[in-house]
């Protein structure tokens, strides 16, 4: 079976394909915009919910240390949301007419860099406030319950949260490494 036959077979498909109307294109643009906005709003809504919860703690708990820690967490959430906003891919993409290899490599690199640095721009801003919160709670409980009881109560929770953060960081680093393998394959493909 010749290549010409296979090419002809391939090109025999979709000969009656209709182009979208201008109304279809406009509707698609709106649908895409809404999808992106919806995804962004879910992320920002989660951030707002967390911020509201910790502001409620600031109001309810009459302890200066805990209040400061909660306010630092709220600031961290705000910073994370700002980073998410800055990292969103602007539409339309001005580079979409670039040669395919370069475009694909650039997109993979952008995704890799975002995943590789998730510790810095997504998880990291939350850490200072979380640490302060545990210190503030320990500062209140140690005089009352003693060191060992405080460690026994707070230790597992702190370890679980730290473990969760570390797992997220690890998963993102693994995903970044997979992308790097693909980038390396593209760069090495000079046969």
């Amino acid at each position: 079976m010749s290549d010409d036959f296979i090419s002809a077979l391939w090109q025999s498909q979709d000969g009656d394909a209709r182009r979208p109307s201008n109304e279809d294109l406009a509707a698609r643009a709106v649908a895409l915009h809404r999808r992106v906005m919806w995804r962004d709003r879910i992320e920002y809504a989660a951030g707002i919910l967390v911020a509201v919860l910790f502001i409620a703690v600031v109001i309810a708990v009459p302890d200066t240390g805990i209040r400061i820690a909660c306010l630092v967490i709220v600031a961290g959430v705000g910073f994370t949301c700002l980073n998410l906003y800055r990292r969103r891919v602007p539409a339309p993409d001005d580079n979409v007419g670039q040669a395919c290899r370069d475009y694909y490599r650039r997109e993979l690199g952008r995704q890799r860099d975002a995943l590789h640095s998730v510790w810095r721009w997504y998880l990291g801003p939350l850490v200072p406030g979380m640490v302060l919160l545990f210190v503030a709670i320990a500062y209140r409980t140690i005089p009352v319950a003693g060191w060992w009881a405080t460690i026994r109560e707070l230790g597992p929770i702190a370890l679980a949260i730290a473990g969760f953060f570390f797992l997220l960081h690890l998963l993102n680093r693994l995903a970044a490494r997979r992308l790097q393998s693909t980038i390396d394959a593209i760069d090495g493909d000079r046969s």
Binding site: M1, D3, F5, I6, S7, L9, W10, Q11, S12, Q13, D14, G15, D16, A17, R18, R19, P20, D24, L25, R28, A29, L32, P92, D93, D94, V96, G97, Q98, A99, C100, R101, D102, Y103, Y104, E107, L108, Q111, R178, L179, S181, T182, A185, I186, D189, R190, S191
Partner: protein, 172 residues
């Protein structure tokens, strides 16, 4: 309407009329499922229409159209995060696969061709799809940004692969 938007619409009309079928075929190379493929075709057309605002006619219209369509397609498979499972043109698994169907009617041949294409990593898939559209090697190089030598090697692999995978004979 401004002159710029008139120009964009005019270029898009030319592109959609001339390459509309090719765009749908390209989308088949990136998505199996009918509904998702229809969405992908719409995305390709939308990206193409928007892109003509930046088209400076430094390349042929067809080159631009294929670049935009393939870039949207590659983004689609990257989102599906299957890149790690995809293989290159020189992978023996492309030839070693045992297709269940023995028949050589048009539909089953196309199905086999689609299955093979869908196993390919993004760049090799782009070269394969452009080759099947009968683009000359020089234009494939311009669309993909690969060197002429690299395209020549990939085309050689494509010809070998097609000969080995579809050696059963012409169904007509």
């Amino acid at each position: 309407m401004t002159e710029a938007s008139d120009r964009r619409d005019r270029l898009y009309d030319q592109a959609a009329d001339k390459f509309g079928s090719a765009i749908v075929r390209l989308a088949r190379g990136y998505e199996f499922h009918d509904e998702k493929r229809r969405d992908l075709v719409q995305d390709m057309h939308l990206a193409l229409w928007r892109s003509f605002a930046k088209f400076e006619e430094r390349c042929a219209l067809g080159t631009w159209v294929y670049r935009v369509a393939h870039n949207i397609g590659a983004g689609h498979i990257a989102k599906a995060r299957r890149e790690g499972a995809l293989i290159t043109l020189d992978d023996e698994r492309l030839v070693a696969e045992n297709d269940v169907e023995e028949t050589v009617d048009r539909a089953s041949l196309l199905a086999r061709l689609h299955r093979m294409i869908h196993r390919l990593a993004a760049i090799d898939r782009q070269v394969m799809l452009l080759y099947l559209e009968d683009l000359p090697a020089a234009e494939i190089a311009e669309v993909t940004g690969l060197s002429a030598a690299n395209v020549a090697v990939k085309i050689h692999r494509i010809k070998t692969l097609l000969a080995r995978r579809f050696a059963q004979g012409d169904p007509s």
